[in-house]
């Protein structure tokens, strides 16, 4: 866009170079009247408010002399460099036309000063200023108007058409007051200040006499209702001046016009011939252009178009590029004004908007632009104001209004003291001045006006504006001194392009700005970049805007800048965030990961520096944290380390916290949380330890027959499953809970993380802070604890850390992506439950006393001798604040329930009676432990013997003599197999078939095989204590487990046993082989008065006297056992024998009382013969016989154990009487008497054919023996040789079979007697007869 013939006409920058670009200019400002609004004197509190109110009066409608309504626009500025004023000929909208001062004074001195400043401002802009207003704010509200010199005289006397017609109230009042005050004050400021003394006369202020301005006085806090009115009045007056100028210009004769010059052109035309045709044309063109400007300002936009066009045509012909450019620009501006009327109206709206962020203009005008200009202005104020004007006569042909003004001014000043530029300006427009006509007032129309039909002919198309502007800019670029104009033109063009929504055009205009080489102060350069950034932003070139902002920021603090401003730098950088696709919110940045990391890192680092340098360490820390957090993946390991160290250094000045920082501009910097330092790779809440974990008191009722089923009925359950992060376990109120996390320190140095807590929501949760030191690069497991304080749902959101001097709230949902965590963990917290301590004491032994703390599955070790019992006391202390209202004891072990209940004995009622247990109270549970064991040693003897435990093999026994070889001959043979199996065999030696048929016989003795009594057996059992209390006692309970390791030591063992008939038939002896398995001497009590000492590991045989098992009881029992057995008795003798055996065994067990006492360690215990097995023969002894015997020899009754002596050959009469004690008759009894010799070596000789002679039957069959009936049989016997004889008397019944065959009883009699014997009763002990010679 730059002209290739750059700078052809340019000179070295001269004094008149306009050097203060106004970046805020818009195209529509071409049509505006420029008014300076300035606060002077003390700072007004409501200055900004007033400024806004004034700005709102930016457009008034004036009816001109021809009755046409003119739209007049005003542009208010707060500051205006005088140099720019000099370009007023070139572009009239650059002229400052009006002045408004807002001033505050407290006393006369200040008032004088304020007036002086106002006047000096008027002087400063005297070249162009047409009118001014002064708003004075005094100390008191409702103050009287101070006396004032009648400034209106000077102003309006000359106008003299309207003096009395002034519609303004204060104007009217002025003269009246003036009369009062004139007498007292014709004074100068100094004198007045001395005269006026506050206390008395504080309401009487006088303006100095040389103050000739239209002034309005108010109290400082007055509402000032007529502010707008006054401003409008000012504008109205300005309009008429402009209008008059326009008319004047339009009536000038084109041949005689003078040449208008841009400030720097003056030298160029020295010595040129002005009378050439070219030169004349140039003058004409310039004048036309000037007229067009005025026309535009006067509100006649369409007219201005044609003027611009014609001037452009003229100027083009004479190659006056600068002015041609101006004409083109004017054309563009006018077209833009018509095409985009909203441009005009939108601007004031933007200015008034209170949203600072959205309104770039306001922010700039108030915060940036103003301070940057101020120092510069001060610098410039000293320059003589009138120098350019005094130099004006240099061009004699110049007849511009300005010059004429100045000339007139000087002349006027000489004439009258109160000469004023304003008055002069108005004086030249007398004919058209009509103050009454402002706004809607009617006026006599002045017939001299431009044709009313609008000439739109020259209106540019929207598409043509940009190329036209471009051409203009190219023309401008040919003049180095017009650089500012070019710059401004670029901005204006860009703004139009923005309005046209043509971003590319806008950007090309903006790009052009860069190439314009201007000697600017740093501040102006910054401002240029800033404006560029604003416009780039508007067209959506955010990156470009960010680039410009960053450039501006670096300029702010560049070494060339005499007064670096880090704060501005900081804000510029901050505002370039969107262009770098950065957000202030770190989570957003992490999630989206857009933008160029290298640039973002650079920007952030610069931002950190800027915020540190501007003295805001908190921000520095925050941004450094942000940098580390968001750019973590893009940084190298070394950078991680460096930045972390930097962060540490920064945070030493100001700690970073997870709170948003609010900047002065109202921007909020959200907190940045370090989740990368340390990195969390694992985060799970832990269930309570088993001892404190709540359990359901009643387990869920299974409504489904399957233990597991994948099918779930009902959608509720399925939904619950989907709830991610919902924990299955429960936490308990007021109970310490734990979350486990695994942290890794990614930095190469040791990292201290202090004050780690859990972040929760929902119910109140008290987190316990934790401090840890993490070694570099090794995962560390950390447990965080806390206590829920309420009941309900607890959400665990994350954790907070304090590391590198920064406090962070690391929320799970914001965790870096590689680790997937649910957004929160939800845990149900139930009401508090009691906790207990369990203390166990085992009394008798005293040596075991384990005190167990609350939760550890504590162990109590107890060793007991078999048969020993001891008391165990469990003391439960309630350590919580909740009373225990439910307590339940259960024992779990590897034993079956029956055995278990024998070892552990406790009273449930006793436990329940102690409830409830108040806090800090104690309850005692007594448990009796008994070393239950089977004392019968079955496994000890192995081998061949079928009856290992019956004493038969080793000891003589009259009953237990079922020798194998005697099987066939013995009548007991029928029941032989059965007895042998049930009494002698160890279950694992029994055949499978046996077990299958008769399994119930061995069921009760199952533990026998489990616990061999000969060595110590460990019994592991758990005492489960379930307890609860508080509000949730119905649902939940706690469970403590107490491990009890019981060692059961062998004490005594019964290796063999047998039964012997006692001397009295109602008694028997149970003969036991007792082995002392302990290492001590043992005192073994086996009967109330009998005891024996057994050495360690020694074995002893003891007879235990017992009553025989009463027949009735057995029978009754048999009946009780069930009708099945009694019924089956007829068919299956085996089962009946079994039940009988059970009865007998039980009888023996119950009646035997064995006690032992260890002499040395003073331990006593008991033993039992439980589980003793009996053979059929034994049972016969044990049981009271159903048949009562009475045996007599030679009519002499034989006592048991008695030996009868006789000589050989003697005839003995043996009488046997049998009573039936059964309550039913016995049938088919076979009573037999048999003689034999016992060799006492286990051999019985029945072959006594030649030694014994018997007379009478030795075998009788009794058909029926009725109940309680007696049968007597007698036979005679003669022993032929001396010796020891024994008589075996027995009675056998064949009843069952006989009953089957009642009809052939005769035939079967013998058979039954010899063969199928179902039961045999013997007379025990057998009668012994010793025969002597």
């Amino acid at each position: 866009m730059r002209s290739s013939v750059s700078y052809i006409l340019s000179h070295a920058p001269g004094e008149s170079v306009m050097s203060h670009p106004d970046y805020a200019q818009h195209a529509q400002h071409h049509a505006c009247l420029l008014v300076l609004v300035k606060g002077v004197g003390g700072m007004l509190k409501n200055f900004n408010k007033l400024w806004e109110r004034i700005q709102r009066v930016n457009n008034i409608k004036v009816t001109d002399s021809s009755g046409q309504v003119r739209d007049i626009w005003v542009r208010y500025v707060r500051d205006y460099p005088v140099e720019n004023n000099d370009w007023g000929d070139f572009q009239t909208h650059r002229r400052l036309l009006g002045l408004i001062t807002l001033s505050k004074f407290n006393n006369q001195v200040e008032l004088n000063e304020v007036c002086r400043v106002h006047e000096s401002l008027k002087v400063k802009y005297s070249n162009t200023l047409y009118d001014s207003r002064a708003f004075m704010f005094g100390p008191v509200s409702n103050m009287k108007k101070p006396e004032q010199e009648p400034e209106s005289y000077s102003l309006y006397d000359d106008d003299n058409t309207h003096k009395n017609g002034s519609s303004l109230g204060d104007k009217n009042s002025l003269p009246s007051e003036q009369t009062d005050s004139l007498s007292s004050t014709d004074s100068f400021p100094q004198s007045v200040s001395s005269n006026s003394s506050y206390p008395t006369q504080e309401e009487h202020f006088t303006t100095p006499s040389n103050f000739k301005t239209h002034a309005m006085f108010y109290g400082e806090n007055d509402p000032i209702p007529d502010l707008e009115q006054n401003v409008a009045d000012l504008i109205n007056s300005l309009f008429w001046v402009v209008e008059s100028k326009r008319l004047e210009r339009s009536r000038e004769k084109l041949e005689k016009v003078s040449l208008l010059l841009a400030p720097f052109e003056k030298k160029d035309f020295i010595g040129l011939d002005m009378d050439t045709r070219n030169s004349k044309k140039r003058c004409m063109g310039r004048i036309t252009k000037n007229l067009a400007d005025l026309t535009l300002q006067a509100g006649l936009v369409p007219e201005s178009l044609s003027l611009y066009h014609s001037s452009a045509e003229i100027l083009k012909a004479v190659n006056d590029w600068l002015w041609l450019a101006a004409a083109k620009e004017g054309l563009c501006a006018a077209s833009a004004i018509i095409l985009y009327p909203n441009l005009r109206s939108s601007t004031p709206l933007q200015r008034n908007a209170s949203l600072q962020e959205s309104s770039p203009y306001k922010a700039k005008a108030l915060s940036l632009f103003q301070p940057s200009i101020d120092p510069f202005r001060k610098f410039k104020t000293s320059s003589p104001l009138r120098t350019p004007k005094t130099s004006s006569p240099v061009n004699p042909c110049e007849l511009t209004p300005t010059s004429s003004e100045s000339i007139e001014t000087s002349s006027r000043q000489s004439e009258t003291d109160n000469a004023d530029s304003e008055s002069l300006a108005s004086s030249s427009d007398i004919e058209y001045q009509c103050p009454k006509s402002y706004l809607a007032s009617e006026l006599p129309s002045i017939p001299k006006q431009i044709p009313s039909q609008i000439n739109i002919q020259y209106l540019l198309n929207p598409d043509d504006i940009a190329p036209k502007y471009r051409k203009a800019i190219i023309h401008y670029s040919k003049y180095q001194n017009a650089g500012i104009i070019e710059t401004e033109a670029c901005f204006k063009a860009a703004r139009i392009a923005v309005e046209q929504n043509n971003s590319l055009n806008a950007s090309s205009f903006l790009q052009n700005v860069i190439f314009i080489n201007l000697t600017l102060s740093e501040q102006e350069k910054i401002q240029r970049f800033d404006t560029l950034a604003e416009l780039y932003k508007e067209i959506g070139f955010l990156r470009k805007a960010a680039f410009c902002q960053r450039l501006a920021a670096t300029r702010q603090v560049s070494p060339n800048n005499p007064n670096p401003d880090w704060q501005q730098c900081y804000y510029l950088m901050l505002h370039s965030f969107p262009g770098h696709k950065l957000s202030l919110d770190p989570n957003y940045v992490i999630q989206h990961q857009v933008g160029w990391p290298a640039l973002q890192i650079q920007l952030l680092q610069e931002l950190v520096v800027a915020s540190r340098r501007m003295g805001h360490p908190a921000l520095a820390t925050r941004h450094m944290t942000f940098l580390l957090q968001t750019m973590w993946p893009h940084l190298s390991k070394q950078e991680h380390k460096d930045l972390a160290i930097q962060l540490q250094a920064l945070s030493a000045q100001c700690e970073g916290g997870p709170v948003p920082l609010v900047l002065e501009t109202g921007e909020v910097i959200p907190p940045a949380n370090l989740t990368h330092v340390p990195q969390c790779t694992w985060f799970t809440p832990r269930p309570l330890p088993p001892a404190r974990a709540p359990h359901l008191i009643k387990s869920k009722t299974q409504n489904c027959p399957f233990i597991f089923t994948p099918i779930h009925f009902g959608t509720l359950e399925r939904n619950a499953k989907k709830n991610e992060g919902k924990m299955e376990y429960l936490w308990v109120e007021d109970d310490i809970c734990e979350v486990q996390l695994k942290l890794t320190n990614p930095l190469p140095f040791e990292l201290k993380v202090s004050n780690m807590r859990l972040l929760t929501s929902g119910i109140v949760f008290e987190s316990i802070p934790e401090t840890i030191i993490l070694p570099p690069d090794s995962p560390t497991t950390v447990n965080l604890h806390g206590t829920p304080k309420e009941v309900g749902e607890l959400q665990i959101l994350g954790y907070s850390t304090h590391t590198l001097g920064v406090k962070s709230n690391c929320r799970l949902k914001n965790m870096p992506t590689p680790h997937k965590f649910p957004a929160s963990y939800i845990i149900e917290v139930i009401p508090s439950l009691p906790t207990i301590t369990i203390e166990t004491t085992v009394t008798p032994s005293g040596n075991v006393s384990v005190s167990s703390s609350e939760n550890v599955g504590s162990t109590t070790n107890i060793s007991l001798y078999n048969g020993e019992s001891t008391d165990c006391t469990i003391r439960i202390t309630n350590t919580s604040n909740v009373a225990i209202e439910y307590l339940d004891l259960a024992i779990q072990s590897n034993m079956d329930n029956q055995l278990q209940s024998k070892i552990f004995q406790y009273s449930n009622d006793d436990i329940q009676s102690q409830l409830p247990i108040a806090p800090n109270d104690m309850a005692t549970i007594a448990i009796k432990l008994y070393g239950e064991a089977d004392f019968l040693d079955l496994g000890g003897v192995g081998g061949e013997n079928l009856f290992p435990n019956s004493l038969t093999s080793n000891y003589p026994s009259r009953v237990g003599s079922p020798v194998p070889n005697a099987q066939n001959s013995l009548p007991t043979q029928g029941s032989n197999q059965h007895t042998s199996l049930s009494s002698g065999l160890i279950p694992n030696r029994t055949s499978g078939s046996f077990r299958s048929t008769n399994s119930h016989t061995t069921s009760w003795s199952a533990p026998i095989s489990v616990m061999p009594p000969s060595r110590g057996r460990p019994v592991e059992s758990q005492l489960i204590i379930r307890y609860s209390g508080g509000t949730s006692k119905e649902i939940h309970c706690r469970q403590s487990t107490l491990q009890i390791n019981l060692e059961l030591l062998p004490s005594v063992s019964i290796t063999h046993w047998d039964v012997l008939p006692a001397e009295i038939p109602s008694q028997l002896y149970l003969v036991l082989d007792v082995t002392n398995l302990t290492s001590e001497e043992m005192d073994f009590h086996y009967a109330p008065s009998k005891h024996i000492l057994i050495e360690s590991k020694e074995s002893c045989r003891v007879p235990v006297p017992l009553d025989r098992c009463p027949f009735n009881t057995t029978h009754d029992k048999a009946i009780e056992e069930g009708s099945e057995i009694t019924e089956s008795k007829s068919t299956n003798t085996g089962s009946s024998t079994n039940s009988l055996e059970l009865m007998c065994s039980e009888h023996i067990t119950n009646n035997t009382e064995l006690r032992w006492h260890l002499m040395q360690s003073d331990i006593s215990g008991r033993a039992s013969v439980k589980g003793i097995t009996l053979s059929q023969a034994m049972m016969d002894i044990v049981r009271m016989s159903p048949l009562n015997w009475e045996v007599s020899v030679n009519s002499q009754c034989i006592k048991p154990q008695e030996e009868y002596n006789c000589s050989a050959g003697e005839c003995l009469s043996l009488g046997v009487a049998v009573w039936n004690h059964l309550n039913r008759p016995l049938h088919k009894l076979c009573l037999s008497v048999q003689f034999y010799q016992d060799y006492n070596n286990g051999v019985l000789s029945y072959k006594l054919d030649n030694r014994v002679a018997t007379a009478g039957n030795n075998k009788v069959v009794l058909k029926t023996l009725a109940e309680s009936a007696k049968a007597y049989h007698e036979c005679t016997v003669v022993f032929l040789t001396p010796g020891e004889y024994k008589i075996d008397i027995q009675c056998s019944t064949t009843e069952l079979i006989i009953e089957d065959a009642v009809t052939k009883e005769e035939n079967s009699l013998i058979q039954t007697c010899t063969g199928e014997v179902s039961h045999v009763w013997r007379f025990i002990p057998p009668v012994a007869i010793s025969v002597t010679d």
Binding site: S503, L504, S507, Q511, I514, F515, Y536, I539, G540, F541, L542, R543, K544, A546, F547, V594, W596, A598, L599, Q602
Partner: protein, 155 residues
């Protein structure tokens, strides 16, 4: 001729930035990134306008528009000129020439065009690598070498 070549992905993420400079210091690298980054605005805007033009005009012109992938000069600074090129898959190729160097100052548009076409071909070759994940940064050394060749040889 060129001082920097950049390949920019569909989502405006940098895929490759290579440059020949006097030094390879980070400053140089950063300034290159700034240059290319700020060019993206203009590039996108130009894409958007051609698109809207395409929809507005008839299909005939749109076809020709589509065929021309070369976008021309995006913008220029005091020292550099930045040219753009967009593939049909919206991969942006940016070429930066230095206007201060004698070779780069008076470079012709056609030269840039051919250079960018060649770059396009190289890019296509590079992503034909089955091990290359589209959207990832281009780390191919061969590509780097060839691009540097384009930048240097084509003086």
């Amino acid at each position: 001729m060129a001082v920097c070549v950049a390949v920019i992905g569909k989502d405006n993420s940098p895929l490759y930035i290579g440059g020949v400079g006097n030094d390879t210091s980070t400053d140089n690298e950063l300034s290159r990134q700034w240059l290319v980054h700020t060019a993206l605005d203009a590039l996108e805007e130009r894409l958007a306008t051609t698109n809207s033009n395409n929809t507005a005009t008839n299909t005939n012109t749109s076809r020709t528009d589509l065929r021309d992938l070369y976008l021309g000069l995006l913008y220029s600074t005091d020292t550099h000129k930045i040219y753009g090129y967009v593939t049909n898959t919206r991969i942006k190729l940016v070429l930066v020439t230095s206007s201060t160097s004698p070779s780069g100052s008076n470079i012709r548009d056609a030269e840039v065009r051919t250079a960018l076409r060649r770059l396009h071909a190289l890019y296509a070759d590079a992503i034909c690598n089955p091990f290359h994940l589209p959207g990832e940064q281009i780390t191919s050394q061969k590509f780097d070498k060839q691009v540097k060749n384009i930048m240097l040889n084509n003086v």
